[in-house]
């Protein structure tokens, strides 16, 4: 695939992520903060988001396996996940966290379990999609091109 095709593919891919509600305008904000002097800013922030999210999802899984479930602690953890997903524009994950928090507040175990599964699923999707997008960007850079805005 030549450079122009790669660039077009990236723009189309990115547009679809917004269109399908995976990403929102906060992601655009982050991209606007990147420049020649800080070319890896978005990748770095998103990597932190991945680390943070995986840690939180693990803790939430463990919390729901306990005899006595600490809903307050879970709520705090979901709040953290909601915050970081909002900060990078991971729209679907953020929305699910809001629902999750409601179940925590209601101390609804079934609701929490279901929500956790959904969040894990959505998180998996956005992680794959962002990694694909970064790979496309790297291909463009390797081909000597610049990443279209």
């Amino acid at each position: 695939m030549d450079l122009v095709q790669l660039q077009r593919q990236l723009v189309d891919y990115r547009t679809s992520l917004y269109h399908e509600g995976f990403l929102d305008e906060q992601f655009t904000q982050l991209q606007s903060l990147q420049d020649e002097n800080n070319p890896d800013f978005v990748v770095e922030v998103v990597s932190l988001f991945f680390e943070d999210s995986e840690r939180l999802l693990n803790e939430l899984s463990k919390a729901l396996e306990q005899q006595v479930i600490d809903f307050k602690r879970m709520d705090a953890q979901v709040h953290q996940l909601k915050g970081s997903s909002s900060s990078i524009g991971a729209h679907r994950v953020q929305k699910l966290c809001i629902v999750f928090r409601n179940y925590c507040e209601a101390q609804n175990v079934e609701g929490c379990l279901k929500c956790l599964q959904q969040v894990k699923h959505e998180y998996g999707i956005i992680k794959t999609k962002l990694e694909s997008m970064f790979q496309l960007e790297q291909q463009i850079l390797n081909a000597g091109g610049s990443i279209p805005v």
């Binding site: 903060l33 922030v45 680390e51 943070d52 970081s84 909002s86 809001i98």
Partner: protein, 235 residues
């Protein structure tokens, strides 16, 4: 980029009066950013650097107090924090484990050494009662997360304006001080200095009157979009 514009602007200010106006050691605004989220710390750091600020980012209210030298359990080593840099602005998250941003705000505003430092609160929750409580405690502004560059730029703009006005007031006070001394030495009282809040100050040194002249809340905070409660799609 914005960085160059910011620094050049500050240099111009110093030349206006022809006096040495350096009340701070650096030209850039030094911001202490407080947030327990690693992702948010990285983002706010970048936003502040783009806005031509020096940034120190810490992960808790406790560490923020330690940096300022306000932590009761740790002996103050220096008056201005670990690396001696004066803090011009504090931006803190509201919801943090341990000490909340509100509690940090209270401690800063209750301290005689640091109460003049403007404190801005960030929160993902757009709750009127929370915003009001923070503003009443002396917060400069309240930003609803996720934080955007326009939010940060607005805050840095009026912080630097207040700092500059503080310095200019200081310079005017110093000039008035010099004039008054000359008048006392001379015969005539040809005082042409305009009446000001500073001349009625009971403190003798001009530097402390700079502190009292700083407005606690600038008019621009009332115009802040957050004060008008922007409707976010979340919650």
């Amino acid at each position: 980029m914005a960085r160059n514009g910011g620094v050049a602007w500050m240099r111009t200010t110093e030349k206006i009066d022809g006096y040495d106006l350096s009340t701070s050691d650096t030209e850039e605004v030094h911001v202490l950013a407080v947030d327990d989220s690693l992702v948010d710390r990285k983002v706010i750091e970048r936003l502040l650097r783009i806005s031509s600020c020096k940034v120190t980012a810490v992960d808790s209210g406790r560490r923020a107090l330690q940096y300022l030298g306000l932590d009761e359990e740790i002996q103050k080593k220096e008056t201005n924090g670990f690396d001696g840099l004066k803090v011009d602005l504090i931006i803190t998250d509201y919801c943090m484990p341990g000490m909340t941003g509100y509690e940090l705000l209270k401690k800063v505003k209750e301290s005689s050494a640091f109460r003049e430092i403007p404190v801005v609160i960030m929160s993902s929750e757009n709750v009127i009662a929370r915003i009001d409580r923070c503003l009443e405690k002396g917060a400069e502004d309240f930003i609803v997360k996720p934080v955007k560059l326009s939010d940060v730029k607005r805050i840095i703009d009026y912080t630097t304006t207040e700092l500059r006005e503080g310095e200019q007031r200081g310079a005017r006070a110093r000039r008035r001080g010099i004039n008054k001394r000359k008048q006392r030495e001379g015969d005539d009282d040809l005082s042409s200095s305009p009446p000001s809040t500073l001349s009625s100050s009971t403190s003798s040194s001009p530097s402390s009157s700079i502190q009292s002249a700083t407005a606690p809340l600038s008019p621009s905070t009332l115009d802040s979009p957050t004060r008008r409660l922007k409707m976010t799609s979340s919650e």
